[in-house]
Symmetry: C2
Subunit: 201 residues, 2 copies
């Protein structure tokens, strides 16, 4: 059984999509061992409890990043987490955190990286006037929104769209893409060549 750890700061719609995908058998031999938030009042924590999952708040406010991360890493280890899924976790990970779980931290970003890293990627893309955007599931490295790409899905931006419509269209793809990417990584049937994700038979 693969133990997943989910980190979130908000409602965690991607967390719920991962949990649903596990329930539906789309991520074989996996369970969510723990959900951790830096905010005690994150709605995603309550949603985790309602599903009977371990939900832990580790408040970051007023603490140094390395110190807070150290505690998060300890909680992940105590739940024997194999793979960490960031799901709207609004904090940068310290280098020590990344190195402690090297190649075992995933993030999803609402753009076709390397375009539009950082906050408000959907709005950035809308305002730039792109006609194709999407989402990216990638390994987390020490740089923001930068690690090797596991999966990308594209969506169109239509002339009648407002930013909300674009964001909703991307989010729908995020929910599918994240579960698929997790299943890919847990299968172990891949290699990273340079920065390229290549499936192995």
């Amino acid at each position: 059984m693969h133990n997943l750890g989910v980190l979130l700061s908000g409602r965690g719609s991607n967390f719920l999509a991962i949990a649903d995908a596990i329930d539906a058998g789309k991520i074989p031999d996996a369970r969510i061992a723990v959900v951790i938030s830096n905010l005690a009042d994150a709605p995603g924590l309550e949603a985790a409890r309602q599903r009977g999952l371990n939900a832990v708040a580790i408040e970051a406010r007023g603490r140094k990043r390395a110190e807070h991360d150290h505690e998060v890493v300890a909680a992940l280890r105590s739940h024997e987490v194999e793979l960490i899924c960031l799901a709207g976790y609004m904090r940068l990970l310290s280098p020590g955190f990344v190195q402690a779980f090297s190649g075992r931290i995933l993030n999803i970003h609402p753009s076709l990286l390397p375009a539009f890293p950082g906050l408000d990627a959907q709005m950035q893309a809308f305002e730039y006037g792109v006609q194709v955007t999407g989402c990216t599931v990638h390994f987390v490295d020490e740089q923001l929104d930068h690690g090797a790409i596991i999966l990308q899905r594209s969506v169109p931006v239509l002339s009648g769209d407002d930013p909300h419509a674009v964001a909703a269209r991307i989010l729908e793809q995020e929910h599918v893409a994240y579960a698929e990417a997790i299943a890919r990584v847990l299968s172990g049937k891949y290699e990273i060549v340079g920065r390229r994700y290549l499936p192995k038979k």
Copy 2:
């Protein structure tokens, strides 16, 4: 009749695609008034002559950019060019050139801008490990590969691909996209809101 001016430095495969699209009636009421190259031996010039088009070499070597551009602008004006299409023109346009034809210069770039501007965009995308790339037709402004986007088309990068396969897949879409974008601009039925291209009825 809309007079197009094509600028190229190489074989001009996008020039040939535009010429074919005109012959096929896909760009209504348009003709290529002149093809100009900064290199006298550009194969695209010879191809233009074979099609009975005006083909002009204006050598750039050893000349100042503004001076060379001044001569190119004069040639475009003498052929009463309404819209300029860059088709593998391997020179940056001077600000004076851009301003002389403001909003009337198009370029096609082999990536989903703003990702991978500059040279060897297909190889940049391949090495970054993206799974979606494509091409962009955009207005030319004073910044490299930066103006408002008229049309983007996406293509997948597959795990068995080499860079050549990716480039060929993009080029196929370029040939369709450029003709469509030219027809859109010549129709005049659009507005640019911020950076967004929006069709008008």
